[in-house]
């Protein structure tokens, strides 16, 4: 039987992070990009918890709380921004937000 070691958790975290990063880079929809950002944050959380369990320490899990708080705040602000942009441009395709071109 395969033993589930710390390495598996790290691999999972990497995969999650990569998917999230690629999502940020490749998706057009702003909400999907936010979701991908959340996924990256969650990957980081997973990593924190894994090493906390491995070290037998609770410092990692405390940091997770911080990360979740920051993620929540950031999402709130970000969604507010998207709603505002949608009100003006009637679209949340980020390719269309290029007024800073120049």
């Amino acid at each position: 039987m395969l033993e589930v070691t710390t390495n598996h958790y790290i691999w999972l975290s990497i995969i999650l992070f990569s998917i999230g990063a690629l999502g940020v880079l490749l998706r057009r929809n702003a909400i999907i990009i936010f979701m991908s950002i959340e996924m990256m944050l969650n990957a980081a959380n997973l990593l924190f918890v894994t090493f906390s369990r491995q070290a037998g320490d609770l410092d990692g899990q405390v940091l997770v709380f911080f990360v979740i708080t920051v993620a929540a705040a950031e999402v709130a602000v970000g969604l507010a921004l998207i709603v505002t942009i949608f009100r003006t441009k009637r679209s949340i395709n980020i390719d269309e937000i290029n007024l800073m071109k120049g």
Binding site: A21, V24, L25, I94, I97, N98, L99, M100, K101, G102
Partner: protein, 736 residues
């Protein structure tokens, strides 16, 4: 050095006079006319008298030290080590220069005093005395210099002062509106300049041959070279000493012709009479015109060497003989022209030229002492005559002033100098008449008076050595007596031919006193070289003139080296044992008295009675001389040709070549071309290119970089991501 050390003061006093009158004199005269004139005029005269005192001191000092020449060195003027060229500023006090000093300062002082009266009322009073003192300064440099260059400084200086003084009234114009005085001054200066050119050439030759210009070393060197029969070398070209000195002496003759008004440069002297009379008396009778004579007497060694060597000018005649012939010809020609002149001063001017001819002829024949003797006596009576004529002119002017004040017509062009309007002045101007008579008789050569002794010494010498010259000079002497008789008759005798002459009156004492002094000198001046003074003195001095003692000759022979050289047999000075031949003297007296009487009674006995009547000689061939030979030639042909040449040179070379071609085309075009090159190429393309190029580079760079600003959030996100990856990779790899 003792008293001789005072010699430079003789130059200092006139300089002080120049500075005083030049700087502050005008203020004195303008503030208070009568006292100002006294200050200005008397200061200048006192300076002249002080110079005279110094000259007398030098005379006495020479008596005391055995008549040895003394050189008073003041400072080194020019010194070029590599060429061995040294010209000192030194005064040579010897008997010859002291003679000249005494004449110049003595007669000069008297003329200064006379001029105080003559120039009374002239607006430029102080300027006149500035120039007079300046003239004294230069003339004294001329006679006291111990080298040819110093003599030349004085030479040029007196030429300048002559110009300044002749042209003193430079605004004066004649009836045709021509500038009389200015033209006369310029004519004098140009004629002098021709002589100056000859002088410079002569001095250059002398320096090249002897490497010095100081008199004593030069003459010693010349004698040495002559005795040793050396050839003179000019680089690749060599010549005998005789021919070199012939050239030098001929050039000296040319210089003397310019200064002393000999043919062919005599033309300036009569025109110079336009200047004030004291100027005519001082410069053109007594001093400046005698500088040519002084030059030749000073260079007697050179002339005698030439005579001895037998070298000829252009193969025709030897240089000293040429001098004698030029002098004699001038004497006769000028004497004949004097017959035809109506201006009282012009008669005296031509008389001066004639008498200078006598002196030049004398020194050309080797009678240096006779020439100097005549120079001294002539200074006395010619100055007297000129000052006397000035007195007459003054009287005529005052007479004219008096009558036109009454009648109110000042506008007829009255010439106070025209003898045709004079007459009968012997009653109106007693003093002037008496002294003028003395002067005229002295000039004519009446026995006892000064002119007789000096002129007859010259004639005696000529009769012994050169019969042709003797004849010419005798004829000239006859002319002298004749035209003086004519002048006396026309001016003083008969009855007045114009109202101005009727109202003429005598001149003030400040003018007549110098006249009397000069008259006295004209009477006793002859005793300077009297052939028989005392037996005792004759024996004591055992002189060349066969035991007869001659004061001036004894005095001068200490400076005239030719005498000593002649004794040693190096040269053979044509010396006359007899200075007064009874035959010659008797004949000349007879002829002179005859000519005087002829003029007085026969030719001019009755006529002219009125001013308009023609001169009795006008229908004779003599009147041909009224066209002024040589002068009309110069003014009619030479000067216009020269002017045309000068105008052509000015137009073609100066105007068309230099201005138009070189200046405009070459210089201006080059400059403009360079300027446009600098502005268009260097500035516009070069500098602007660099500056603008920098801007363009920046712009291009910006254009390229701007392309990264797409405005796409995803592009920015990608670059953040890549940056993070790179950073992580770096840290991970570096950690190992």
């Amino acid at each position: 050095m003792g008293i001789f050390g005072l010699a430079p003061l003789i130059l200092l006093f006139p300089v002080i006079g120049v500075l005083f009158n030049g700087l502050v004199g005008r203020r004195f005269v303008n503030s208070n006319r009568s006292t100002g004139e006294k200050w200005s005029g008397w200061f200048a005269s006192v300076m002249a008298l002080s110079a005279f005192v110094i000259a007398v001191l030098m005379f006495l000092a020479l008596q005391g030290n055995g008549f040895e020449a003394q050189i008073v060195h003041v400072f080194d003027w020019m010194h070029i080590e590599s060429a061995g060229f040294t010209i000192p500023w030194a005064l040579q006090v010897d008997t010859l220069s002291v003679t000249m000093m005494l004449v110049v300062t003595g007669v000069g002082s008297l003329i200064h005093i006379y001029a105080i009266g003559y120039m009374h009322g002239d607006p430029d009073f102080s300027r006149f005395f500035t120039y007079l003192n300046l003239f004294l300064f230069f003339m004294l440099i001329l006679v006291t210099g111990n080298n040819y260059l110093m003599l030349f400084v004085g030479w040029e200086g007196v030429g300048l002062c002559s110009f300044l003084l002749i042209g003193f009234w430079f605004g004066r114009t004649d009836a045709q509106g021509q500038a009389m005085n200015a033209n006369a001054a310029r004519k004098a200066f140009v004629a002098n300049r021709v002589g100056d050119l000859a002088m410079i050439l002569a001095m250059s030759l002398l320096f090249w041959t002897f490497h010095t210009l100081e008199f004593q070393p030069l003459f010693d060197g010349a004698v040495e070279m002559f005795e040793s029969d050396e050839m003179v070398h000019f680089g690749a070209f060599s010549a005998t000493l005789g021919s070199v000195l012939t050239a030098v002496t001929a050039l000296f003759l040319m210089g003397a012709a310019g200064k002393s008004a000999q043919i062919p440069l005599h033309v300036w002297l009569p025109d110079a009479m336009a200047g004030p009379t004291p100027v005519s008396a001082l410069i053109h009778a007594a001093t400046m015109v005698t500088s040519g004579i002084y030059l030749i007497v000073r260079s007697n060694v050179l002339f005698e060497i030439v005579r001895e060597s037998g070298a000829l000018v252009l193969g025709i005649v030897s240089s000293p003989d040429l001098v004698a012939y030029v002098g004699a010809a001038t004497a006769l020609l000028a004497g004949l022209i004097a017959f035809t002149q109506f201006d009282i001063k012009k008669v005296l001017a031509y008389s001066t030229v004639s008498q200078l001819g006598f002196m030049v002829a004398a020194i050309g024949m080797g009678a240096y002492v006779a020439g100097m003797f005549h120079l001294v006596t002539h200074a006395f009576f010619k100055a007297l005559l000129f000052l006397g004529s000035g007195s007459v002119i003054h009287g005529m002017e005052h007479g004219h002033h008096d009558i036109s004040h009454g009648h109110g017509d000042h506008h007829d062009h009255f010439d106070p100098q025209d003898m045709r309007t004079m007459g009968g002045l012997k009653d109106k101007m007693r003093s002037t008449f008496t002294v003028y008579m003395i002067g005229a008789l002295a000039l004519a050569g009446i026995p006892i008076l000064a002119g007789f002794w000096s002129k007859d010494e010259i004639l005696a010498h000529a009769s012994e050595h050169n019969f042709v010259i003797y004849v010419i000079l005798t004829l000239a002497a006859i002319c002298t007596a004749f035209y003086m008789g004519r002048q006396l008759k026309m001016v003083f005798f008969g009855s007045p031919r114009h109202e101005a002459a009727e109202h003429a009156h005598e001149s003030p004492p400040v003018m007549t006193t110098p006249l009397w002094i000069l008259a006295g000198l004209s009477v006793v001046g002859g005793f300077l070289n009297l052939p028989f003074l005392t037996e005792g003195l004759a024996a004591a001095n055992d002189h060349h003139a066969g035991g007869m003692w001659l004061a001036l000759e004894g005095w001068l022979e200490h400076s005239i080296e030719a005498f000593h050289l002649s004794e040693e047999g190096i040269v053979h000075l044509p010396h006359t044992p007899l200075v007064l031949s009874p035959v010659v003297a008797g004949l000349s007296t007879l002829l002179a008295v005859g000519a005087l009487l002829l003029a007085f009674y026969w030719v001019y006995g009755r006529r002219p009675e009125t001013a308009e009547q023609p001169d009795p000689l006008q229908r004779t061939p003599i009147w041909w001389f009224a066209i002024l030979p040589l002068d009309t030639l110069y003014m009619g042909y030479l000067i216009p040709a020269f002017n045309r040449l000068a105008a052509w040179l000015a137009n073609s070379i100066d105007e068309r070549f230099w201005h138009d071609f070189v200046h405009n085309n070459i210089i201006r075009d080059f400059f403009v071309g360079f300027a446009s090159f600098a502005s268009n190429v260097l500035d516009a393309k070069g500098v602007d290119g660099i500056v603008n190029g920098a801007g363009k580079v920046a712009q291009g760079l910006a254009n390229v970089i701007r392309q990264s600003q797409t405005g796409y959030a995803r592009n920015y996100a990608l670059s953040i991501f890549l940056g993070t990856v790179a950073l992580l990779a770096y840290f991970l790899l570096m950690a190992n």
